[in-house]
Symmetry: C2
């Protein structure tokens, strides 16, 4: 069977980004009002076409989406999966390479000029295309990976206390984490270093401030075992 022409004109190649952060009421996802058809005006994941002349790969395209649409640079940006089919986009047969990114809460304000709306992942509005399914898969990945890795540190600012980081883990995993196990785990991962300054916790014993060692800023550290929960 002969192949179609090399430059197949009928496949749309796009990139979408599930940009997550953490607020007081849990994980939030960044949504943006679409500025063109289809679904003009509807809230959707930041995304767009891959620009072959501009992007070095889909990862670079995803980073560009974050820069152009949310006005920020995310140190953690990982491929989630690729979604495709004839019906997910009314314009035609489409392929969307989806990435997910985690940013600390403060990063929201950096791109304050952008039109990003943050929505709790527990109260998602209806989303166009297959974006609801995409967000659910991203959440599943983040929760699963948080069980055995340092992923959640990317939801913290540059400096944080262990009780703060523990609260972040609990917010992501949706369950309490054992304090002793947590501190043991963070020690074993060996990616945190104490900062000599301290931080008052309300009006009580102040907690040690930590930060991620330079070597671990962009990736994640993995553990062979799991903190709480089930896979």
């Amino acid at each position: 069977m002969p192949h179609p022409p090399v430059h197949s004109p009928t496949i749309l190649c796009t990139v979408d980004v599930v940009l997550l952060t953490l607020a007081v009421d849990g994980l939030q996802v960044a949504l943006l009002a679409r500025d063109r058809a289809p679904h003009a005006g509807a809230l959707a994941l930041p995304g767009g076409f891959v620009h072959p002349g501009e992007d070095a790969g889909t990862h670079g395209a995803a980073a560009r989406m974050l820069r152009e649409k949310a006005g920020l640079h995310s140190p953690y940006l990982e491929q989630l999966a690729t979604f495709s089919g004839p019906d997910r986009d009314p314009r035609g047969w489409s392929v969307s390479v989806v990435y997910y990114a985690l940013v600390p809460p403060m990063a929201q304000d950096v791109g304050a000029t952008s039109a990003v709306e943050w929505h709790s992942v527990d109260r998602l509005p209806p989303l166009p295309f297959d974006h609801t399914e995409i967000v659910h898969q991203a959440l599943a990945r983040v929760r699963s990976k948080s069980q055995y890795s340092s992923l959640p540190v990317h939801l913290c600012g540059e400096r944080f206390t262990l009780p703060q980081l523990k609260a972040v883990y609990e917010a992501v995993l949706g369950e309490r984490v054992n304090q002793v196990s947590f501190r043991r785990r963070m020690d074993e991962l060996g990616m945190l270093e104490p900062v000599v300054g301290e931080l008052v916790g309300g009006a009580h014993r102040p907690a040690q401030v930590w930060r991620v060692k330079a070597a671990h800023r962009t990736g994640v550290s993995l553990s062979a075992r799991v903190l709480g929960g089930e896979r």
Copy 2:
């Protein structure tokens, strides 16, 4: 910044499949001599262009590659990742959605008319494009996932003994597996059922024959913990 025309003509959209099986000397990957430029004649992963008119998605396209190029149907076919960039294919900016598949050794013969060559993953010939990197990532995924799931059962035929299955796990993981832990794990996963017939092991006590329960034929069962090895 305006988007390019909807039907961007400059992105090649392809699918590649890392098809794995198990031989006496370990995991083997299916390679096929390319029948056209670029790299005509070179051994490469089975793959090809997505056909929008024919494929319901990239998963379907990968299944079609297996059918057309290897003459077989794989019950286990999962997305690995998507590879992209301007330089990986000399024809231009390309996106390849890569899947991996596991088949039992006998399945090789079903597609005997095909030109598939099986190569040990430990002695890969030089591969074109970024196929070497792709195979390595697929192996890493299979090995990692085998630690906490039933993935390797797809490398067995329909009926097998537990000692046989244990040997498959050991071949994939590249290390010995504790016998008691292994049997406990298989019991907990609860996806195997005994077949009343038995099977002679050389000239000694015969082993019980098992098969995967119907409900678990196509997917994998997951365990919260890990068998040997480190992540």
